[in-house]
Point group: D4
Chain length 127, copies 8
């Protein structure tokens, strides 16, 4: 995150695949054409889950960013896996998602509203 | 589930709190009035998560039912916890949610479209 | 707990040794006289920890009751063990202990102020 | 610890937040003003627990220092978490706390009375 | 197993789906026709793995029977899962499979050549 | 144990194979003659370890009895496994074995000198 | 793998012992002549399993390559251990093994048909 | 080990405290005089167990060397802990200890008779 670098924090950030089209296409790109949308999605999600699992396993903490645009059940899944693996979790979500995220927020270590606040939590680790 | 009983399966079903109003109100009902919506939600979700955790811990398998009405991040969280705990998981979701649920579906043991199909999977255990 | 029985909850309650004198004396009572207070305490706590471990292992949930009288580091230890083992934990503590218990309360599933409230949480499991 | 450095031990020490005022204020500092003391404490402890969890996860051993001044239930919680995670634990406590800490001391790997003694235990690892 | 009953052992036996045709067809039977053999196999194996996982989780010990007819990679997978979960494992295999099964046999608790011998091991538990 | 029954404790006791000759012969008895003493011992110990694992998995606590007669490395192994599995462990050993058993005793929950004392610890669970 | 190096991926690859004759002979080579084929196999597989366990423990992900030549129960065992340890697993298998590998494939993270495809999955981690 | 260095293996070896007198005296050396032999042994073993735990936690594999001189219940305990933690274990023991060590040997990954053979197993990891 740019904000973290600006503050001089020496952290490495890795992300789930954020290029949405690549994320959806990667299954057929590697495994070849699939017989319909369901199978295309299954092939893509297998590879995206593989990628996320490899990266999360190496992470010391996890930040989950929720917004209004998508249903983000994959974000909820990855955030929950962080909780269950004991990897400290920060959730970032706008005020209007408080109600919808209340159970996940209750299990997260810290919930904030802005990326700036999340960076402040990271900064605090070394204070 | 009625369908399971009709087929003579001797299974006990327990559920997350499905009475929506009670689920939202339980925090203030037990802990007293809270200073605003955020705190009301936090109090309620603490008690709902406590309840779900107690019940899931005793379950041999978990069925997660997704629909169009809510964002259901709590369902995604509970389903992921089942996966992480090694409790076999069936996801039920309508066809139009295939894309949104693809990553969670990839990690579930079985994904079906109807309650009837989920009951058939349960039946198969004893065949 | 009497309150739980009055409400018709079919729960079995087990407790750490609450007879304070027996708890302090049990080491010498079984192992014979020890060479000083430190050794008397070590012998007693070994046996009390053995007892608590056996009982907690069989528990589906744990309730930790904090008050003003003792330092209760053993209660904090047993409550933390419940958290670490994934056993759902309710903390009961009076208002004046909010500040001192804030970190443990943050990790507990639910924190309440009275035994009556804890019983309401237990009741809610079956609602 | 200065004593460890003086002896030439090449160990890195990290600590829970020891600046007491910052530790209490960090919640409101990051998340904004909270509606009362309870909520201020909850916000602060969430962030302090996040910080301690990140640091302890990286630690090879844990030293818990008990004194007379505070109730230190958070210290007891962190020490117990070290035990439950299998991270070797040294407790440092003055003689007058022997009785109050007897159960936690029984579960710790080693209990000593002075920082100097704890450093001697660390030194012994490389002997 | 008939031999165990004849000896009066009070054990309950559950099995992977041994009706081969049902095992292969169960995916399409529940989920509807699939677009080709690969998808038919994937659907069937998801449900068979669900079934085996539910049953093995309840088992106190596991017996894996290897023969010449099939490649039995699923048997090797289920046997390995038993090992990794700490469920005591007996492998039954004919002499001519010694070489092919040597690594799995090395990790199993006991390897025998006949069902009769496996039953003798079960009998020995109560001797 | 007779002493536990005399006191009216409703506990079930299971044991490692205590009939020494049967324990040594069971490998060849089930698997047939082995090519020498080493192989006879390996065959027997596989089956004895299988038996002990099944029984210990079902135990709520473990009692290890050390004496002067044998080297009892298997007892030390089974006692350590109990510790590592979090099963509360009582060690019974005569005074003259204090020095040889000091490290294992340090990790056990409780160490006593007589069967009578161990039974008193068991009695205390229900007091 | 040559393909991964050609693409500039900075990964270290370690393998089970692929020199088949050495793999079969290593037991007698280190432990001396064994009394027959069964004992020769047992000695060799103990050392090969030791080697594979050491190497897999250090791996961030696991790739299992199945072919027509051998029964490869050891490959199935090692692949399953990767799954059970939460190490992301890619299976490579030719089309004609789809049916025989369907249960293991269902539990793997990703299944592909060629080494080239597996390398593409590895590449995708850093995209 | 000198043999491993002679062969050019780049391994770091750490050991339990092998200076027997220091090992016995370390408790009183750090904690001061204890009231009798039992308490002296308890103090020493706490610190020795702390040391061994720290070192073993960092080890990738464990080698346990048994001989005729001592009862070595601590060696059996440490070796069993390696097994239970999934750290690959080599046991070295002379022929005359085969019978006494048969159960532990059955659970170890590899058992050899000489240090030279153990080094050959280590060498094989990189072959």
């Amino acid at each position: 995150m740019k904000q973290a670098k600006d503050k001089g924090l020496s952290l490495d950030f890795v992300y789930p695949q954020t290029e949405h089209d690549l994320s959806d296409a990667i299954g057929e790109q590697i495994l070849g054409e699939q017989p319909g949308d369901y199978y295309r999605d299954e092939a893509a999600s297998a590879i995206n889950n593989f990628r996320t699992t490899v990266l999360m396993e190496k992470a010391d903490m996890v930040i989950a960013l929720f917004g209004d645009q998508y249903r983000q059940w994959n974000t909820a899944m990855d955030a929950t896996t962080a909780i269950n693996k004991g990897k400290p979790l920060i959730i970032i979500r706008p005020k209007n998602l408080i109600h919808a995220l209340k159970e996940l927020s209750n299990k997260a270590n810290v919930t904030v509203e802005t990326v700036e606040q999340a960076v402040q939590v990271l900064e605090y680790i070394n204070q």
